[in-house]
Symmetry: C2
Subunit: 200 residues, 2 copies
DNA sequence: GCATGCGAGTGACGCCTGTCACCCGCGATG
DNA sequence: CATCGCGGGTGACAGGCGTCACTCGCATGC
């Protein structure tokens, strides 16, 4: 019997996944949580074998949850189920020691199957995503990432500068570098591309 | 017996919802589709009582599906189930004659209940969203919307001008108006705000 | 001890943006 | 008929953006 905790912020999807998993005779859904903090509490209370979690959740993300589990060396395997086919996310997930990474685009039957594989000690990584993950490295450094994130919210170089206690010109230099590295022509495209790749 | 067709692009969510609905004794899921065109074909083949559909799908969106059903006067009620709490979407949905509009944030039990209400001839609209929908009207006209969409992809005024066969300056005028109407300070914020409100 | 590299900053250049006042043609409305 | 209103355009201005060359200080590494 595989004992599972489910973390997913959209209630309807959470309920539906729960119904789906409860149809499997060898899987038992112990409970579910709507955000990262709740999941962390339930994790300690219910001590499941497996955590099935989304990435984007209020409070703590699924990736952060996985990191915590890894640091505290809890005997709980993690399977990520997410919308985002972003190579950067998968890489961070693997660094956080997760055993499974599926896309919500994959057929529903895959989920139970992946959970069994993981429970047996294996790994279940979406195949075409696994390829991409190691093909392209994130070219941005911390500053560039930071600046690009703020620029993507519509802030001007000046705004960003005050916020990061940098100079106006330096911010523009960072943005220029980021734009160059990504091979695009302006901050908007740079933001979109970086976001899509999961480099945020 | 309520005979249903399910349209949702994410396979895992589609499968899970299907499992959820099949647990209800008075609901029968006739089939499901992964994109708008497939849904339209299945609709004509299976002639369900009810279409449960997402909005954002490849090809035809859920809103466009609802419009088609309305125009062809098919005897099929529509329930929208979506992530997007955007007032503009709800308004367009109601214009397209849908009977239900739920958020994926709502509890899973609501779905079956809403479907029963709609099947009985009633309406099931997410309550707090219904309020917002009539509170704020979309201030943008067609040109402004068009220009803003392209600007959001990182295109410059010049690029947009050639694409729409307008002049460089006119594009900037439209953008300026849009920025003013939305009460923000640049195209990036304007794009984000308009998108978030569902005005696209 | 010197070179190398890196984070941060400066200043200047040209193009792009956002704003505004104003113009033109045309269809609707009185 | 006159006159609005409206879609589209022009030209100008200030300020923002993207680029580049160069500087400075400070930590590393031989």
């Amino acid at each position: 019997m595989i004992r599972v905790l489910l973390a997913e912020d959209q209630a309807m999807v959470r309920g539906a996944l729960s119904a789906l998993l409860n149809m499997e005779s060898d899987i038992e859904v112990l409970g579910s949580a709507a955000d990262g903090e709740a999941a962390w509490r339930e994790l300690q209370r219910l001590k499941p074998d497996l955590l099935v979690t989304d990435i984007e959740m209020p409070g703590l993300t699924g990736l952060e949850l996985a990191q915590r589990i890894q640091r505290q060396e809890l005997p709980i395997k993690v399977v990520i189920v997410t919308t985002f086919a972003r190579p950067g996310f998968l890489r961070r997930a693997l660094d956080a020691g997760v055993s499974g990474y599926l896309l919500k685009d994959a057929p529903a039957e895959n989920l139970a199957e992946a959970m069994r594989t993981v429970h047996r000690g294996g790994r279940a990584i979406d195949p075409q995503l696994a390829l991409e993950a190691w093909s392209e490295a994130d070219p941005l450094n911390d500053r560039e990432r930071q600046v690009l994130r703020l620029a993507g919210e519509g802030q001007s170089a000046g705004d960003i500068a005050t916020q990061l206690s940098l100079s106006h010109g330096t911010v523009r230099n960072y943005l220029s570098e980021a734009i160059g590295k990504l091979g695009v022509t302006n901050r908007i495209e740079a933001y979109r591309l970086a976001r899509q790749k999961g480099w945020l």
